[in-house]
Subunit: 221 residues, 2 copies
DNA sequence: GTTGCCATTGACCGAAAGGTTAGCCGAATT
DNA sequence: AATTCGGCTAACCTTTCGGTCAATGGCAAC
């Protein structure tokens, strides 16, 4: 009944018939909602797509909205970025890896990222839970960045003076900007490697080349 | 009839009764579409809001879609950033001014920016024209940035090595990131001055503080 | 076998959607 | 005075919407 608490068949539960149809419905609704939106998707369509009677949907989910948030939650499940915080790497490499993760994540989940973004922009009421969860993800990511940058600054690896919080915020903004650019312009316009390099160069000195300070800096004048 | 070609009363045209009602309808539709979206706004609502019969709307606009694109175009009209390219300023100041313009533009037009973004993300078909126009604006802005950065690099003011195009692209991404951060977190989380400072420091040396490179361009050491 | 519950359905409902139609009104043209 | 025509409306039409309900098949417990 409770949408936010979809029971997962933890251990060899016999997986009732009902769960099957529920899944079928969720799957169908997911597809339809994701690329047509909430208001443009009718329950009859969902029913047809799931090869189930419309009444059954209302047996599983009290209202259309309830179905929708169930779909949101299910879509959100795989949403986390695994920060393989390999201790072997220095802070710079870790930060670059983090940036890379973000970008490849966006690339891999482009369509649902797009959907979520549109949904959050459009219908704040319907997607409160979504908002919260995305925010949580987001601030987790930000926290990691802040800490990494702080460590880098302490170690003296990092040339940038601003507070780690500010640097992280700006960096995140840049990433989000790349995200929307990607959503609108497609893959060809955004190259992750370039972005990573740019970030590296920004936070630390010139990327593969000379150290940041006095002489090394500017090659071609 | 043609929505993209709304006749403006260029010179003291007597402003017929019909134009008045058309305007009233557009105004009402603008408000409703903007903060409820296309599919969640009904023609009856528009009619009520404009204090006009529903049939009249269909007399002015063949379909709901036509009304919508007319609204889009009208909303888009005031959309341009005036780049007061004051020759007196050096490139750094100009760039910073450009960044500032962008941010204050977003701040001033937050709600319709949000609407446009949601619309473009959600319903690409309905907003093709919108897409084009925004893209035009966008690439104009980018071009200005590219040129300014190029000039700054030639003059040696600018420490950054990457191609002006890359730098501008990254900078624009950062701005877009700030935009979406602003849309989601509200005004308190984004401070334009900080962003401008960060940009300045990124492209040129540390702004009021220690310069990273030699000694040339940057003032206070 | 019957009872009772779970899962499922087709038929149905009122409301509201986008859109149409026939006709009214008032001012200009003849 | 009669005609025309742009602006406008009430009433209507069709379709589809989210949602309900009475009824049913299957299946485990008794």
């Amino acid at each position: 009944m409770d949408a936010s608490q979809a029971k997962q068949p933890s251990l060899s539960e016999p997986r009732t018939q009902s769960q099957d149809s529920r899944d079928e419905i969720l799957k169908a609704a997911m597809g339809l909602f994701a690329n047509r939106g909430f208001h443009e998707t009718s329950m009859s369509e969902v029913a047809r797509e799931a090869r189930v009677s419309k009444a059954l949907i209302f047996w599983h989910f009290k209202t259309k909205e309830e179905l929708f948030v169930a779909v949101l939650n299910r879509l959100l499940e795989p949403y986390f970025i695994d920060f393989a915080e390999e201790a072997a790497m220095d802070e710079r490499a870790q930060i670059e890896k983090l940036v890379e993760s973000y970008l490849s994540f966006v690339r891999d989940n482009a369509s649902s990222v797009r959907f979520f973004l549109a949904q959050m922009l459009h219908d704040q009421r319907l997607s409160e839970g979504l908002n919260d969860q995305v925010l949580k993800l987001y601030s987790g990511y930000r926290a990691m960045l802040v800490e990494l940058i702080a460590r880098a600054q302490q170690k003296g690896i990092c040339t940038r003076r601003p507070a780690p919080e500010s640097a992280a915020a700006f960096l995140l903004s840049a990433l989000n900007g790349l995200l929307i650019e990607y959503l609108f312009m497609g893959a060809n316009s955004v190259d992750p490697e370039g972005a990573v390099a740019m970030v590296g160069e920004w936070l630390f000195g010139g990327s593969p080349a000379a150290p940041p300070s006095e002489n090394g800096g500017t090659p071609a004048a």
